[in-house]
Amino acid sequence: MANGRPVGGPRGMRGTRKPKNAGRTIARLLGYMSGKKYMLVLVVIGILLSSLAGVVGTYFLKPVINSIEEGVATGYFDVRAFIMKLAVMAGFYALGVVGSYMYSRLMMNISTETMRRIRVDMFTKLQSLPIRYYDTHAHGEIMSRFTNDTDTLREMLSQGIPQMFSSSVTIIGVFVLMCILSPMLTTLIVAMVFVITFVVKKIGGQSAKYFKRQQKAIGSVNGYIEEMIEGQKVVKVFCRENESKEKFALINEELFDAASNANTFASVLGPITNNFSYINYALTATIGAALAVTGVLDIGTVASFLQSTRSFFQPITQISQQFNSIINALAGAERIFELMDEEPEHDSGTVTLVYATKDARGTLSETDARTGVWAWKCPQDDGTVTYTEVRGDVRFEDVVFGYDENKIVLDGISLYAKPGQKIAFVGSTGAGKTTITNLINRFYDVPDGKITYDGININKIRKSDLRRSLGMVLQDTHLFTGTVADNIRYGKLDATDEEIIRAAKLANAHSFISHLPEGYDTVLTSDGVNLSQGQRQLIAIARAAVADPPVLILDEATSSIDTRTEALIEKGMDTLMEGRTVFVIAHRLSTVKNSKAIMVLEHGKIIERGTHDDLLEQRGKYYQLYTGMFELE
């Protein structure tokens, strides 16, 4: 991907959505800025200064022009008084400049920091959410909270709100000024505002339906693009280029039709408000001049009032433009807070994992040194602490589980794995193999029945400690951006280079890593696209090996490695598994053959169990699978 932008980034075309509870969202946003109270006060002062200085400056046109007029009328131009008036005007303007710079600078600091804090909170929250959350929310959806939603929110904080505020101040200020200058002309302006509001409302109502149509068209164009590009190679193999072009032309035309209509409404709004202000200007000039002729107003007042009408309508236009984006941003903020309010992964475990030393009598005591002996540290009710050695004894007792309540995936599973045993699970997709491993590491909690680990109910073990004691190689190997060494080191952050190379050799990954352009320092791009699936699995195995856990879970760990390579790493795998309790899920039966016990799962139940030879003898499901009489999917 040449200089590509983030893949999950903004998908460009998006519509407006309304926030559900704007008040609460704003209050929460303000909560993020509560530490900046004084700065915010300064921002308000800055905005007030800058808008009011503009208003006062405009007002000063009146005495300035009048003093010129006086000079012309009386034949004596009082230069000193004139300079004085200009100086006062300049002073106000200067205040305005200082005010506007001050508030935009402060607001920039506040908004960037607020956004950072929101992002970090969001990310931290994300890390704490249970796997279930990830199951039920599309990545794109979550991603757009980090991109679209934070972007619009930032824009609102740094521009929208200050501008809205300053526009309102200006409008009020100018309105007061106009009332002082000429209440009569002001009524004309007010009438005009009503006309504009009416027109804008009318147009707004019309455009809503076109925007809806546009949204729909965008959806179908984007969907079609994604599907066709994903399937580009199939399109080519079947020579369907022309059909796909034709279909695209059709929906693209539809999008154009909806978009051009919707955009027309949006882009005539600016000229309309702008030109209404000119109509107003013209009317004001005519009526004001007529009043001046009859002596009701002086020329300075007319000049000052005219300038005011311009500065009255500009903020109105601005507010009407900002309004939509603020609504949009609040809806985004709401989605962000929604994520932050998600229930985090629940953990009431108190048992922790520590390094221990064992003395001659077999008594365990805690130590900081990496002894290679692990112990569960169990705090008791009476305040004392007991230690249990980590051996890898895992038992399931009548475990019942379903991802949602109506659909049971595991139905009364009981099994045991004694320390150092290799236990395999076999069965078709949906039989519940992966679910079993997901329960051992508490990605999901067991509602019925219990799972014990060295005699301790796993609900009592702190999740992070439980998972540290389990090494996992998952079906989908995900690597991270970084070097190959970094990725292996992920299993043990303080692993030395030697340890990493040893782990890589164990997984038979050393030879291909050495062939990479930079060896162990080769940078892998997002999700390791420059490696084959099989190579990625080898790295994932090395990653688990370096962690050196007492229990290993291999979920289709070698599915993408061809059988010949698999045979090559078999020895390494055997070394890796030695002395550990291992749970293996494999598609290929050759991988599980030498297990201590093989469990055949079907519809959430263990239907057969035993060694390879036992099972073949039984002539049951395993035998059928083995001889290829049954489909495994």
């Binding site: 980034g9 000229p271 995900h478 997002s526």
Partner: protein
């Protein structure tokens, strides 16, 4: 580069021209209003023109603002037609181009990046185009005509502008050039931060399994802080725009009032003219501001333009011999000293110096480890890629001599990562042959062992598949894909590991059906399992891009070490 993109305006040229024309007219109307106003004051009020004159000129002013309104609305309308039309054409052109991409072209861009280019980037460019035909016209026209009018009112006073405009222009250019690289850095960091998030979403199970939440949090915090810092660095420069603009504008107003006041007192100017002058100050300086904003957004959309042009300018490296009238008569295949590499750099070959012949109607199995070149080899037959050296012939002619559609219609390939599209099963099957009858379809599905399970669905062949065929299991998807390929009634059919999720018994049925119903067609089967190919006429053993051996199952078992190893690794357990 830009020229090529502008070609996409196409039939929207008229609105693309009308919009700037109307916006210029709008500006002209707008610009005369302060001038008329000065006449009202100087002649109407002070010159004794009276209410009659005031109403007359005032009426003209209202009329002009109404016209300006009309022009403004028209310009807005044409601008949106032109810009959305432009976007439509760009999208279409890119989409068509991508359809013409060869496999090598597709490999070069990732799917996600192509989708982003077609959606987000096009939207950016659409907005920039709109900006250009409106603001980029409005601002300079306003700048020039307001200046001209100001000079015509009072050349002496207008000198203020000749100081102010360059000062502001220099300041704006300075700020933009300084801000641009800082923004660029900011965007890079932004991308980095987002990819961290993306990665964590995808790999959440790995993160949780290794208990690396804290570690990832720290990583993200650093990225977010870096982003904040570069954001501040960039915006610190940009927010200078406003105060500078204000300083220049306010200084102009003061200077004009001071000079104008003095001029009026000696009779060199009228009061009304002075007031209109102040209006022009705002208009002129605002238009400069607008211009600088335009430049910023154009610069920002430049990256999008580049990405779009990368797609449009991509050289399609497979040249279609469209005019060729050669037809594929049989399924004979011959490789002569074929060398092939995915990259231009030929030092790393996927295949080197392959030579063999496959007779029409023969069944050939291909086996070899990951990365041995199996997929590369078969990809050359329907000319998904071109060879670097040597030649591939089908039916006695080099594949490059055929029209691509003729060749590919005769060679059916079931890809490793095959895709079904949203639509009914029937619609998907018809990709193979638009005119296929129900009978032919059922026959093909039976051969692919798909008919039974399709018929078992409540909607049968009309079962609707979601995107990617999500509601079928892996093995079912593969069988539908095979049926789809069979419907082409090909001379050569290639299965690239296409039965990996199908159980061995069903796979055997498919192979038997192939033998009976595709007796004339050449069948090439890539497989991981030895059982999938053991009954083939011949088996090619590939190793590291070269042919290690060719022979029957028995012969290879006898004297090929690799084949024996693969066989044993799979058979050991059966004994």
């Amino acid at each position: 580069m830009l020229k090529k993109l502008l070609g996409c305006v196409g039939k929207y040229k008229l609105p693309a021209i009308l919009s700037p024309v109307f916006i210029s007219l709008e500006v002209v109307m707008e610009i005369f209003i302060p001038l008329l106003m000065s006449k009202i004051i100087d002649i109407g009020i002070k010159g004794g023109g009276g209410v009659g004159y005031i109403v007359k000129v005032g009426g003209l002013m209202v009329l002009m603002s109404l016209m300006s309104l009309m022009f403004g609305v028209l310009s807005g309308k044409y601008a949106s037609i032109a810009s959305t039309g432009f976007a439509k054409n760009v999208r279409k052109k890119m989409f068509d181009k991508i359809q013409d991409f060869s496999f090598a072209n597709v490999d070069k861009f990732s799917t996600a990046s192509l989708v982003t280019r077609l959606t987000t980037d096009v939207t950016f460019v659409q907005h920039a185009f709109m900006m250009v035909i409106r603001m980029m016209v409005r601002s300079p026209v306003m700048l020039v005509s307001a200046t001209v009018l100001a000079v015509s009112i009072n050349a002496e006073l207008a000198r203020v502008f000749f100081v102010a405009i360059p000062v502001l222009a220099v300041a704006l250019v300075f700020i933009s050039t300084k801000a641009f690289p800082r923004f660029k850095q900011m965007f890079t960091r932004y991308d980095n931060m987002n990819s961290t998030v993306q990665e964590n979403l995808v790999a959440i199970r790995a993160v949780k399994a290794f208990v690396r939440g804290e570690y990832e949090n720290d990583k993200f915090e650093t990225a977010a802080l870096e982003l904040q810092n570069s954001q501040r660095r960039a915006e610190r420069v940009l927010i200078m725009n406003m105060p500078i603009m204000q300083i220049v504008m306010y200084s102009c107003i003061i200077a004009v009032l001071w000079l104008g006041g003095n001029l009026i007192s000696v009779g060199g100017m009228e009061t009304g003219e002075l007031i209109s002058f102040i209006s022009y100050i705002t208009q002129i300086l605002m238009s400069l501001m607008g211009l600088s904003m335009c430049f910023v957004s154009i610069i920002m959309s430049r990256a999008s333009v580049v990405r779009i042009c990368e797609v449009l300018d991509e050289d399609i490296d497979i040249e279609d011999n469209v005019s060729s009238e050669l037809t594929v008569d049989n399924g004979e295949i011959e490789f002569k000293n074929v060398t092939f590499s995915y990259s231009k750099n030929k030092s790393k070959c996927a295949l080197s110096d392959l030579s063999f012949r496959i007779n029409s109607g023969e069944t050939v199995g291909i086996i070899g480890g990951t990365g041995s070149g199996k997929t590369s080899l078969v990809s050359l037959i329907p000319r998904l890629y071109d060879v670097c050296d040597g030649s591939v012939s089908v039916s006695g002619h080099d594949v490059r001599e055929y029209a691509l559609s003729e060749l590919r219609n005769a060679v059916a390939m079931v890809l490793q990562n095959n895709v079904l599209f949203s639509g009914t099963i029937l619609e998907n099957l018809k990709w193979g042959n638009e005119e296929a009858t129900q009978e032919e379809i059922e026959k093909a599905c039976s051969a692919a062992a798909a008919h039974d399970f399709i018929s078992s669905f409540p909607d049968g062949y009309n079962t609707y598949l979601g995107q990617g065929g999500v509601n079928l299991s892996g093995g079912q998807k593969q069988r539908v894909c095979i049926a789809r390929a069979l419907l082409k009634r090909p001379k050569i059919i290639i299965l690239d590991d296409s039965t990996s999720a199908v159980d061995t018994a069903t796979e055997k049925k498919i192979r038997d059906a192939f033998k009976d119903e595709l007796s004339d067609a050449t069948k090439i089967i890539i497989a991981q399992r030895v059982t999938s190919i053991s009954d083939a006429d011949r088996i090619i053993v590939l190793d590291d891009g070269t042919v290690n051996a060719i022979g029957t199952h028995d012969a290879l078992l006898e004297n090929n070490e690799i084949y024996r190893e693969v066989y044993e690794s799979q058979q050991r357990v059966v004994e």
